[in-house]
């Protein structure tokens, strides 16, 4: 997703009092893939994965996606 799109999953996990392990099980992706999302290493995300994340965290895409202009 390049460095300009940030995944703020930690914030929503804290709000929902959910662990990374539980999130990975609900969404159906591995913990390492969730780490890739959090670290900004991901190159792309499927719409279905984004939908599952929003469903698991009961939020909107804008709640977990943030755009930061490049330097």
């Amino acid at each position: 997703m390049e460095e300009n799109i940030i995944f703020n999953i930690d914030v929503m996990l804290a709000k929902r009092k959910m662990s990374v392990t539980e999130l990975s099980q609900r969404v159906g992706i591995t913990i390492s893939n969730i780490s890739i999302l959090k670290n900004g290493k991901a190159k792309a995300i499927k719409i279905s994965t984004l939908a599952k994340l929003c469903e698991a965290l009961d939020c909107q895409p804008g709640d977990i996606l943030e755009y930061r202009p490049g330097d």
């Binding site: 893939n33 290493k41 190159k43 792309a44 499927k46 994965t49």
Partner: protein, 155 residues
């Protein structure tokens, strides 16, 4: 066929080709050099000439072995393999050019029979074909490596 078994088979074939090469260069080539005998060029000169051309051939086998090892380690589509294929292409081209230029010099010194010319043409043709195939494969493997990298980082 699993990747590991394919890798092992490739390694066996490469080692077999290497052994056959040793047999060819140490036993058959001295006899073949007699075909190139002429008044002005000694058979031993041809023998040494073709022996030197074996160096790039064995370098190609080493790189092929490393590619086979990467296949076994599930790194078929990698920039490393693409780099090895580019080197194989360069080595094959260099070898073909070496045989072509060297043979041309020898043929200018003394007019050869038809058979030596035909053998040289075949060797050069094979070398150029391997070079072209290897550079095309290198490009494809490099593209595939980039696609796989993107695929791996698509969540």
């Amino acid at each position: 066929m699993s990747q590991r078994s394919l890798s092992n088979r490739l390694k066996l074939i490469i080692i077999g080709v290497g052994v056959c090469g040793i047999f060819f260069y140490s036993y058959l080539l001295p006899f073949a050099a007699m075909f190139f005998e002429s008044e002005n060029v000694y058979p031993s000169t041809w023998f040494v000439f073709f022996l030197v051309s074996a160096v790039p051939c064995y370098a190609v086998l080493v790189y092929a072995y490393m590619i086979a090892r990467n296949i076994g380690a599930d790194r078929s589509f990698s920039e490393e393999n693409a780099r090895f294929l580019r080197r194989i292409s360069t080595l094959a081209a260099v070898d073909a050019a070496y045989v072509f230029v060297g043979s041309s010099v020898f043929f200018c010194i003394d007019s050869p029979e038809l058979l030596p010319i035909a053998l040289v043409v075949i060797i050069v043709f094979i070398g150029v074909s391997v070079s072209v195939a290897a550079v095309a494969l290198s490009h494809l493997v490099s593209k595939a490596a980039r696609l796989q990298d993107e695929q791996n980082l698509t969540i």
